[in-house]
């Protein structure tokens, strides 16, 4: 297992940790259900970006490929949060 493999293992551990953190009870310290929901969605987007950058190797891709994917993550997050909190509904 070389440095690159250990890097992938590290990103996988981070993804597992974020998954467990966002599961039931993991965000109870926030206190408010609404804030917890927003954080659940943001954590999901962070995980998606991690998969794109480190498992799909987009971090090494030309900016012309990376920019649309980064934009997609941000736009999806903005749309979901706006709908969830009633600004577009």
């Amino acid at each position: 297992m070389d440095k690159g493999d250990r890097g992938l293992l590290g990103w996988w551990a981070a993804l597992v940790l974020l998954t467990l953190l966002s599961f039931e009870g993991g965000l109870q310290w926030l206190g408010q259900a609404g804030a917890g929901t927003a954080l659940v969605l943001v954590i999901a987007l962070v995980k998606i970006r991690t998969v794109i950058l480190h498992f799909m190797d987009v971090r090494e891709a030309p900016w012309a490929l990376r920019a649309p994917l980064e934009t997609w993550v941000v736009a999806l997050g903005a749309g979901l949060l706006a709908l969830w909190y009633g600004h577009l509904a």
Binding site: T19, S22, A35, T37, L41, K47, I48, V51, W72, G79
Partner: protein, 177 residues
């Protein structure tokens, strides 16, 4: 192009779910409680782990190192576990009389997770081909095949991450900020 198209189509699915949830907050909140959250979590961990295996396998193919096949087979096994858990989950829902016709939440649940399951099966086919059929000899064709199968598998993983968040974690909450 295929992966970009899939991401855009699923984006529409996610936004549709969020829109209709905002129209029927109580229905979605009650239905969300009826999902098996433990199976959802297990399937998320299984797919994340499969993505690690596939990424490790693709690195070996790309760098011409031996030992990629066990990683592809491990990824394939994870895909089989995911499909089996989904079958258990669907079976439990049907045995309780819950179908896509129950309400809008379950219509979207069965439709979107069903379409995703089809993607899991297609991705599993790619991993199976790499594991059991394709020549093991290093070649540009094999590298391209591994890269494409790997990218598709990671797509399956990242789409599930959002499905899990929407249906199992945030799906029914009343929160308005």
């Amino acid at each position: 192009m295929l992966i970009g198209g899939e991401m855009l189509v699923f984006s529409l699915f996610f936004l549709l779910f969020a829109y209709y949830r905002s129209q029927q907050v109580e229905v979605f909140a009650q239905s969300h409680q009826m999902l098996d959250h433990g199976i959802g979590l297990a399937n998320t961990l299984v797919l994340l782990t499969s993505s690690l295996f596939v990424a490790l396998g693709v690195r070996r193919v790309r760098e011409g190192r031996p030992g990629e096949v066990p990683f592809f087979r491990a990824g394939l096994a994870c895909g089989a576990i995911f499909a089996a858990l989904k079958a258990v989950e669907y079976g439990a829902k049907f045995s309780h009389g819950i179908t896509p016709l129950t309400n809008d939440f379950f219509m979207y649940y069965f439709a979107f997770t069903g379409i995703h399951l089809v993607h899991v099966l297609i991705g599993s086919g790619g991993l199976a081909y790499l594991s059991f059929v394709a020549s093991r000899a290093p070649s540009p064709g094999r590298t391209m095949l591994a890269e494409c199968a790997g990218l598709f598998w990671h797509l399956v993983d990242l789409l599930w991450i959002m499905l899990f968040a929407l249906f199992y974690l945030a799906g029914g909450t009343h929160g308005q900020g």
